[in-house]
């Protein structure tokens, strides 16, 4: 005859027994992962020697305040402007194909050498007529390069940009994304090191 009952006695585990079980669990875990744990200890030792642990500990302890201060200090237009400009500069650098620029740089070097040579030469040679200079094939080549440069300046930037996207969208995306990622990740990862609510 089993009358209804709601009495349930839990298995009582003494604090000593509980501690013993947990220690055993911990011990098993250490033994099973000993290599990783030993390597980690070496790493932590280095970090500790450099005093980084203290820095991180303090930062984590005051994470909310630090985050607020960092964000507050970065809210000035000058600061945000300079971060933004640095991203833009990085973008510009990323767009430069220095390999294609190499022959041009050589030419500029040559031009500078010639300029120096002219400055140092006899007076008679400096008085060569414009007409004879225009007949010189090197002068003509130089002028055509300068004209191409001038033409480039006058072109529509937007259209060129679209052309680049159409021809090689992946390259553009790759360059830009990585540059931005480095910058963006730096900013966005700040809170990763700080305490969550």
């Amino acid at each position: 005859m089993a009358k209804a009952t709601t009495v349930i006695r839990k298995i009582e585990v003494s604090p000593e027994e509980q501690r013993k079980r947990e220690l055993k669990e911990l011990e098993d875990s250490i033994v099973n992962n000993r290599r990783a744990i030993i390597d980690s200890i070496h790493l932590i030792q280095r970090i500790h020697e450099k005093g980084i642990l203290h820095i991180v500990e303090s930062m984590l302890g005051q994470s909310d305040k630090i985050l607020d201060r960092v964000l507050l200090s970065m809210e000035h237009p000058e600061v945000t402007g300079s971060i933004k400009n640095s991203f833009l500069l990085l973008e510009v650098l990323g767009k430069m194909d220095l390999k294609e620029w190499e022959p041009m740089i050589d030419k500029i070097n040559t031009a500078l050498t010639r300029m120096v040579e002219v400055q140092q030469s006899d007076k008679e040679k400096k008085e060569v007529t414009m007409l004879s200079m225009l007949r010189d094939s090197e002068v003509r080549e130089g002028m055509s390069i300068l004209l191409a440069f001038v033409k480039g300046l006058g072109s529509s930037e937007g259209k060129e940009k679209e052309e680049i996207v159409k021809q090689n969208p992946d390259t553009r995306k790759f360059n830009k994304n990585w540059l931005f990622f480095i910058g963006g990740a730096a900013v966005m990862s700040i809170p990763l090191f700080l305490k969550r609510k």
Binding site: A2, T5, L71, E75
Partner: protein, 984 residues
């Protein structure tokens, strides 16, 4: 009919078959077009304008434009891009891109992805606040400042769930989504089904479980979050960098958030969805379009009712009774105890002194093992399941007439029927997602709905014809309607001649069911009866849905038979959109019987008395099997009282509260020598046990469930079992092995393989064929071909012909005059049965904290009852105490007592041991009581924040015309054309 024609897409000619939209065509050609408001489950909404293309030189929305022969479609071009960009820019003015700190940044944010795909770097329209409060309750929240006004949530609420709570108020200066007449969510008619948050393309409408939990940075305090967002906005040089970072963060989340497919553990609709978890924490339930039964639909229980899994009240250790009560023990001790007691009882009293009850909450594999334990290890056929309490009469009615005890088709057939007749089924609350298909078909596609019920429930309110027959009289009006149809010559003679036997005998049996007789018995007017007949006659396809209002009567099997007879007479079988749909109540009530937990049948409904069948099982299991049918649930209770049954092993079934006349049942439990109860909670039944075994709920195990459509679906393990609880199949195997079973299943798939090999009905079922969201509807041939439409060539009876089975009306129980109140009973939307799962949800319990008694205005006036008045109902079998709610859902002296409590309001303290004469299913619906007021004044049992107090605002979809009529709206295509005109 397939129509083929040619069209041109970007100057290339292509062939198109069937009418479809431009967007659908482009998708088939792998041409991607932006789209934000479009959702495949909702169709074209036309609010976002991002899918603009040109057809024959005109700018059109590709989602809503039907492709026609010789159309010239253009998808590229500066002007098209410009139009799409205008649309997208407007969207970005409504939605702030702070993806990395957004909980929705999980790779599936459609705004994020569209910005990325369109290579948008900047926006012209600055994001501005809509200056409206964030709306929230304990289930979900709406942030107007993130809302792009795509209207998907409204479309889902109005046209898919058809709860008709949400609209967008296009007349506001800054339109936004509103609830009812711009009420807070909690004061509205919202049922928290979760459709809105499921279909939202971004974080505007989001489950609160996700808030601050999904991302690595989303838990940052609000005071720091805002400056971070501002800082990021100030230093960004284009969106690509932001999106790259957020993409990386989203990828990192995949490591932390697990998404596991499961099948819902509540009703028989069989909703499947992904559960997002972080450890044991459930972030959200995410239904998928590919889910075969429900698509993106859920109800409040499936979407939000999972707190019970982590409840502190879960059983985590086996319990054994001693002098002082129960004590927790280790598994070994519990199993040893069970072995010794079971062996002793079997030795002393024989195998038939033990009995087993399987659970419709558990998997098919677990049902299979339970009956195998009973039959192969113990040697008894005393095994049954809870379908005895609900659906056995429906199954019986179908076996008699068409041969298979299952739904004739799929939920999609119900949706496409021209006429739905719902009898004794509170389907909008009992099978909420299935009901949405009816509500949608009626609202949008002209489906007609007839409801026959005592109570004016939601579907009754919506019905084209609602009739309220006298309790227990359905057989009479069904037969009268059938007779009238035959008398009018409206029966389907060709169908009857080709596919049905015993027609003439049946027609003769209808003679007594004249309209006047039926009207006298059922209290329906002759006009109502004729109207039902006419509507059936006029509809090309009729599907009849029924549930416990039919089955839980003394003549439940006969009424179910009458339903099937009516369908046969009118030729409403063997075609899509027609047939019989006994709506299964539990997630696996179908499968538990399918897999053999029945006293007279092996898996696949093979008789234990059939020697050749038995031989097959004996060879596979290597034992001799009993040939006599065993005891059903009801007979088990009586056998205990008679001293014949000594041991009972019940799993996942609170029989001490859900059986009828529970005083009688509980008294039986007290007499058992061994009572093993296996459950996830310490239920009422557990209180009588000798051993209680802690089981795992669906989220903690693998297996399969079979829904009301006969659809078998796999569930995967979302999380590990809590504490020392175990999946039921592992427990049953452990017990079998204690008793010499020598079972060695490593995974439920092996159990299914064995079951399928022994069961022709399931021959082709295996786990590979059920992977992910794949499903099979039985019968399943060995090659894996399944049967969505149950009857195509004929019926599963001799000669392939159905049988018209004459039936007679069984008068319901009569009571003395003092018992003047008819006590109807059943389900509520938000709680499931006795509520041991749903009451664990703080959010659900907050809305519906207690059971209540629905009382009509007339009765309330007569007895001085108000909301909160406490009454005692007393039947000849027991009494309950419950608070009242006055409502027009019930009439006269009929009251409605939901079954959602195991306390002093539990309905089964009132019900009798009277059962269906053919199946022994308790006649839960045949109960009358007397009513006494105990306390006149009390707090209303239903808080004002319950959805029943809301005021729905029906409209078709989002009413996009309201947007187009705004003075500040110009179609982007028109804007582009105008710009081109001005600038040449």
């Amino acid at each position: 009919m397939t129509e083929k024609f040619e069209v041109t897409i970007n100057d290339e000619t292509t062939s198109v078959s069937n009418q479809k939209t431009v967007m659908q065509l482009l998708n088939t050609k792998n041409i991607e077009i932006p789209s934000l408001c479009y959702h495949p489950s909702l169709g074209a909404i036309e609010t976002c304008d991002t899918c603009i293309v040109k057809v024959n030189g005109e700018y059109v929305r590709s989602c809503s434009t039907t492709i026609r022969p010789n159309d010239k479609v253009e998808t590229v071009g500066e002007d098209i891009h410009e139009a799409q960009m205008i649309a997208m820019d407007r969207i970005l003015g409504n939605h702030e891109l702070y993806c990395t700190v957004c909980d929705f940044n999980n790779g599936n944010c459609e705004i994020h992805n569209t910005v990325k795909e369109m290579k948008i770097s900047h926006q012209e329209t600055d994001h501005t606040s809509k200056n409206a409060e964030v709306q929230r309750n304990e289930f979900y929240r709406y942030d107007p400042d993130q809302c792009i006004l795509c209207g998907r949530c409204v479309e889902a609420c109005q046209n898919l769930q058809v709860n008709e709570t949400l609209t967008i108020d296009w007349d506001l200066k800054r339109p936004r989504v509103i609830w009812d007449k711009d009420s807070p969510i909690e004061d509205s008619s919202c049922v928290n089904c979760g459709h809105c948050s499921t279909v939202c393309p971004c974080n505007a409408m989001m489950e609160v479980g996700m808030e601050g939990e999904a991302g690595f940075l989303t838990g940052v305090k609000q005071q720091s979050l805002r400056p971070m967002i501002e800082l990021t906005k100030n230093i960004e040089t284009g969106y690509e960098s932001l999106l790259t970072i957020s993409d990386i963060e989203a990828t990192m989340r995949e490591e932390r958030i697990k998404k596991t497919k499961t099948v819902c553990t509540y009703c028989g609709v069989g909703c499947s969805f992904d559960v997002w978890t972080k450890g044991r924490q459930i972030l959200k339930v995410e239904p998928q379009e590919e889910a075969p039964a429900n698509g993106v639909s859920t109800c409040v229980k499936g979407k939000f009712g999972w707190d019970f899994v982590n409840s502190e009240e879960r059983l985590t250790k086996p319990l054994i009774r001693d002098e002082e009560g129960f004590k927790e023990v280790e598994w070994e001790e519990a199993l040893t105890f069970i072995r010794s007691k079971m062996t002793e009882i079997k030795t002393n009293h024989g195998p038939d002194s033990l009995a087993f009850v399987a659970s419709s909450k558990c998997t098919n594999e677990e049902s299979y093992l339970m009956q195998k334990l009973a039959r192969a290890v113990i040697g008894t056929n005393n095994v049954d399941n809870c379908s005895r309490y609900c659906q056995s009469p429906a199954t019986k009615g179908l076996w008699r007439t068409v041969g298979y005890g299952g739904d004739s088709g799929s939920i999609s057939d119900i949706a496409q029927a021209e006429l739905i007749i719902s009898i004794g089924s509170n389907t909008a609350e009992s099978h909420p997602v299935l009901a949405t298909r009816v509500k949608r078909a009626q609202k949008l596609n002209g489906q007609k709905v007839i409801v026959a019920d005592l109570r004016k429930h939601e579907l009754a309110e919506r019905a084209d014809l609602f009739v309220q027959p006298a309790p227990g009289s359905d057989l009479v009006w069904l037969s009268a309607v059938t007779k009238y149809i035959v008398d009018q010559g409206w029966h389907d003679e060709a169908f009857l001649a080709a596919h049905v036997n015993d027609v003439e005998v049946f027609f003769e049996s209808l003679t007594p069911y004249t309209l006047s007789y039926a009207s006298e018995v059922t209290h329906l007017s002759e006009e109502e009866l004729i109207s039902i007949a006419e509507r059936i006659h006029e509809a090309k396809t009729t599907s009849i849905l029924w549930a416990m209002g039919v089955t839980q009567h003394g003549g439940g099997s006969d009424t179910s038979t009458a339903i099937s007879n009516l369908l046969l007479v009118t030729g409403n079988y063997m075609k899509p959109g027609a047939g019989a749909y006994p709506l299964r109540g539990h997630n696996n009530v179908q499968g538990t019987s399918d897999f053999g937990s029945m006293p007279d049948r092996f898996p696949g409904y093979q008789y234990v008395t059939d020697e050749s069948v038995r031989q097959r099982f004996e060879e596979q299991w290597g034992v001799d099997l009993p040939s006599e049918p065993g005891l059903n649930n009801q007979e088990m209770v009586e056998a205990i009282h008679e001293g014949k049954l000594k041991a009972l092993y019940i799993k996942g079934e609170d029989m001490g509260i859900v059986d009828t006349n529970i005083n009688h049942v509980q008294a039986a439990f007290e007499k058992l020598d061994l009572f093993i109860v296996q459950d996830i909670f310490f239920s009422k039944t557990c209180q009588y046990a000798d051993v209680v075994l802690p089981a795992s709920p669906s989220l903690e195990k693998e297996g399969t469930f079979t829904n009301t459509e006969r659809r078998i679906q796999r569930l995967y393990r979302v999380m590990e079992p809590l504490g020392d609880s175990k999946p039921d199949w592992e427990i049953i195997m452990a017990i079998a092995n204690q008793l010499g079973g020598d079972w060695n299943y490593q995974h439920p798939s092996e159990i299914m393989d064995e079951a399928a090999s022994l069961t022709p009905l399931m021959a082709g079922v295996n786990y590979d064929r059920l992977e992910g969201y794949k499903s099979l509807q039985w019968p399943v041939a060995a090659d894996g071909k399944d049967t969505p439409l149950l009857f195509t060539d004929g019926f599963s009876l001799p000669g392939g012909k159905a049988i018209l089975h004459p039936v007679k009306w069984t008068q319901p129980l009569t009571f003395n005059e003092e018992y003047d109140i008819h006590v109807n009973n059943g389900r509520l939307l938000e709680h499931f049965h006795e509520g041991n799962m749903t009451y664990k949800s703080k959010a659900i319990s907050g809305k519906t904290p207690n059971v209540f008694l629905e009382v009509s205005g007339e009765l309330a006036a007569e007895r001085g009852i108000r909301d909160g008045t406490k009454v005692r109902l007393t039947s000849p079998y027991g009494s309950v105490r419950v608070s009242c709610l006055v409502t027009d859902r019930v009439k006269g002296k009929q009251v409605y007592l939901p079954m959602n409590t195991s306390g002093e309001g539990a309905i089964n303290y009132l019900t009798s041991s009277h059962t269906d004469k053919d199946t022994d299913t308790p006649a839960y619906k045949e109960i009358s009581a007397k009513l006494e007021v105990i306390e006149e004044d009390g707090e209303s049992p239903l808080p004002r924040k319950n959805h029943r107090f809301g005021t729905p605002q029906p409209q078709v979809g989002v009413n996009v015309e309201g947007k187009w009529q705004r003075s500040d709206y110009i179609f982007p295509g028109d804007l582009v054309r105008e710009r081109r005109r001005k600038h040449g």
